[in-house]
Each structure stands twice: as structure tokens, then as C-alpha cells.
């Protein structure tokens, strides 16, 4: 466990840049009055971000990704709960990959 003294400025820089990303949005929203309209915008953000994570993976996905996403869709609709559905999707993807399809 060695720590180079010259690493400290690097570490502090990385820490500051990282925390700035995580804290600045929350801090800036102090100055934005949350009207019902702004609330509606904030409420739409999580769903939009989820779609933003899934869409590129689906568009560039091969059979394992498509099979995994299909399994998730079915599992949620069968009321299996979203965490269970996600695990089912990962298992299906891993199985299809292992099968070499």
C-alpha cells in the first residue's frame, strides 16, 4: 500500500471534478422555482434517461440484447416486478451469449 505524494494533487482534482458533476445540478435547482410545469419536466426526466440508456443498446444490440430486452418487457408485463424482470433479462442475455447465438 504505497501512496506517492505527487498523487495527492491528482486525487484532489479528480475528487473536485467528480463532486462538481454530482452536486451542481442539485445546487443550481435552488434558484429555479419549481412550478407545476418545472415539476412535470423533472418528473419526465427519469423515464427519459432510462430510455436514453436503453435505446442505443437496443439499436446496436444483437440477438442476446434483443432477447434480454424482450424478456424484460414480458416479465414486467406479467407483473413480476422490475428488479426481478431486470435479473431475468440479464440471465436471458447471458444464456443466449453462452449458447453462442
Amino acid at each position: 500500500m504505497t501512496l506517492d505524494a505527487a498523487f495527492i494533487p491528482l486525487l484532489l482534482t479528480m475528487a473536485a471534478a467528480s463532486f462538481l458533476c454530482r452536486a451542481s445540478g442539485f445546487w443550481l435547482m435552488r434558484f429555479v422555482p419549481v412550478t407545476p410545469r418545472v415539476q412535470a419536466a423533472l418528473n419526465a426526466t427519469p423515464l427519459a434517461v432510462m430510455v436514453g440508456i436503453v435505446a442505443p443498446a437496443a439499436a446496436h444490440g444483437n440477438l442476446p440484447e434483443i432477447a434480454g430486452l424482450g424478456a424484460i418487457f414480458i416479465a414486467v408485463r406479467l407483473n413480476g416486478g422490475d428488479v426481478l424482470a431486470a435479473i431475468v433479462g440479464v440471465a436471458v442475455l447471458a444464456a443466449v451469449r453462452t449458447a453462442g447465438l
Binding site: 491528482l10 458533476c21 407545476p36
Partner: protein, 249 residues
């Protein structure tokens, strides 16, 4: 949920141990993913001749696989590595993690009423997975801000443990792709999105976000399609808002 919150900007959230525990349990499946990616980062860091202690500290303060790999590549291109340009490292991390600004903004109504130590402390370990998990829980009625911290801890602690093990005994790293772990965040997002999209109004958000993400994906991959989707979705939510009796959650 129906009363207007214009005045205070905030809900009255609590912050309890039971909420932290609920979030911690909910985040366990995602913790498996961060553990294996932590292993992989530890290995990469060792190969770039970063010590175990340094790798662990990096994981503790940056806590982002893509940002840390980018930072390591900047560091390893400098000779000696300690002369790496600090501004370049800072800008690299901020570009890779720009989506966190959006995530943090969306937590404001929920976290505004708890103390700054609790809100900013929880945000310190904000990640994609626990944010998605928490926002889904919030949409389902969770108001305990401890859930956000707890789900973050469920991913952060395995990330540190993975880094430590990977940097110490790197040769044992399994292939995350073979285990399907590269798909874990996509899977959680897809499941949460299918469960969350209930109203007809949501179709517009989904369509706009997908279009925004795929368009930006053509130009810059990585975190930017997510940023685009979030912003486009927020704009659609803002424009399509209708007073009283609408389907706004």
C-alpha cells in the same frame, strides 16, 4: 402528491435508517455489477502502475468506471505520470460525468428538505443505477431520502471492495461480458421504464427521448445520448404539462 409545491420547492422528506436499509437491499443486484467492474478497474490501474492505495482512493472519490478509465489513460500518457495535466483530467471527468448534473437536478424536490450534509453526502455516491432505482421508487411513492443513500451504498461499497481485490489479485478478474454484467444497467433501466410508463402522455416522453439519444449517439457515444434523452424528455414534460386533472405524476 397532488398538492402544489410551488412555495417551498420541496416535499417533506424524511431520512431514516429504515429508508437507508430499504435502499441498500434494493440495490444489491446492482452491487454485483459494480463489484465486477471494480475488479476490472483495479486490474487496469495496476497495469498503469498506479498503486493499490491510489487505485482505492481514486475509486472512493471518483466512483465512476468510465471517468476513472479515462483519467487513467490521461495519467498513463504523461511521463512521469505525476506530471499529468490537472485541467485535462478535470475536464475529462466532467465530460464523462455530465449526465450527473441532470440526475442531481431531478433529485432536488425530493432531497431539498433534508439537511445539506445528508443531501450532498448522498449525492457524493450518486450513480446511474441507484439514481434509476431511487427515481423509480420515488415515482411509486417512496419519500424517505435514506433510500437514495442506501441504494448508493449498495453499489459504492462493492465498487471499493472490487477495486481493492482487483488491484491486489488482478489475474482473477472474470469477464463481465460473459456474465452479462455490461447489460445490467440497461436491464434495470428497461425494466424501470416499462414499469414506469403508464399514461398515454409517457409515449411522447419515450419517443422524444429515444429519438434524442439515437441522434446524439451518431455523433458522440457514451454519456451524451443519456444527457440528450434527459433534456429532450424534460422539455416534452414541460411543454405537455396541463393544469389539474392531468396525468402528471
Amino acid at each position: 402528491m397532488t398538492e402544489p409545491r410551488i412555495e417551498s420547492n420541496a416535499e417533506t422528506a424524511c431520512f431514516t435508517w429504515s429508508g437507508i436499509w430499504r435502499g441498500f437491499l434494493a440495490g444489491q443486484p446492482l452491487g454485483i455489477g459494480t463489484f465486477v467492474y471494480g475488479l476490472a478497474f483495479g486490474l487496469v490501474a495496476r497495469q498503469a502502475s498506479i498503486s493499490v492505495a491510489e487505485a482505492l482512493l481514486m475509486s472512493a472519490v471518483v466512483y465512476s468506471g468510465s471517468a476513472q478509465l479515462a483519467a487513467v489513460s490521461v495519467i498513463s500518457q504523461s511521463t512521469p505520470w505525476t506530471s499529468a495535466n490537472l485541467w485535462l483530467i478535470a475536464v475529462t471527468i466532467m465530460i464523462v460525468n455530465a449526465r450527473y448534473v441532470l440526475y442531481g437536478a431531478a433529485t432536488r424536490p425530493w432531497l431539498a428538505s433534508v439537511s445539506p450534509l445528508k443531501s450532498y453526502g448522498s449525492l457524493f455516491i450518486l450513480g446511474d443505477g441507484n439514481w434509476i432505482l431511487s427515481m423509480k421508487a420515488h415515482a411509486d411513492g417512496e419519500r424517505d431520502a435514506g433510500f437514495f443513500l442506501g441504494s448508493g451504498l449498495a453499489m459504492y461499497t462493492p465498487w471499493l471492495a472490487g477495486t481493492l481485490v482487483g488491484a491486489s489479485i488482478g489475474s482473477l478478474v472474470p469477464n463481465p461480458k460473459a456474465l452479462g454484467l455490461d447489460f445490467l444497467l440497461v436491464a434495470f433501466s428497461a425494466a424501470a421504464a416499462v414499469a414506469l410508463a403508464k399514461s398515454r402522455n409517457d409515449i411522447w416522453t419515450v419517443a422524444a427521448a429515444a429519438a434524442g439519444a439515437l441522434a446524439v449517439q451518431q455523433i458522440v457515444p457514451g454519456g451524451w445520448p443519456i444527457v440528450a434523452a434527459g433534456i429532450v424528455g424534460a422539455i416534452v414534460g414541460y411543454l405537455r404539462w396541463k393544469p389539474a386533472g392531468s396525468t402528471v405524476r
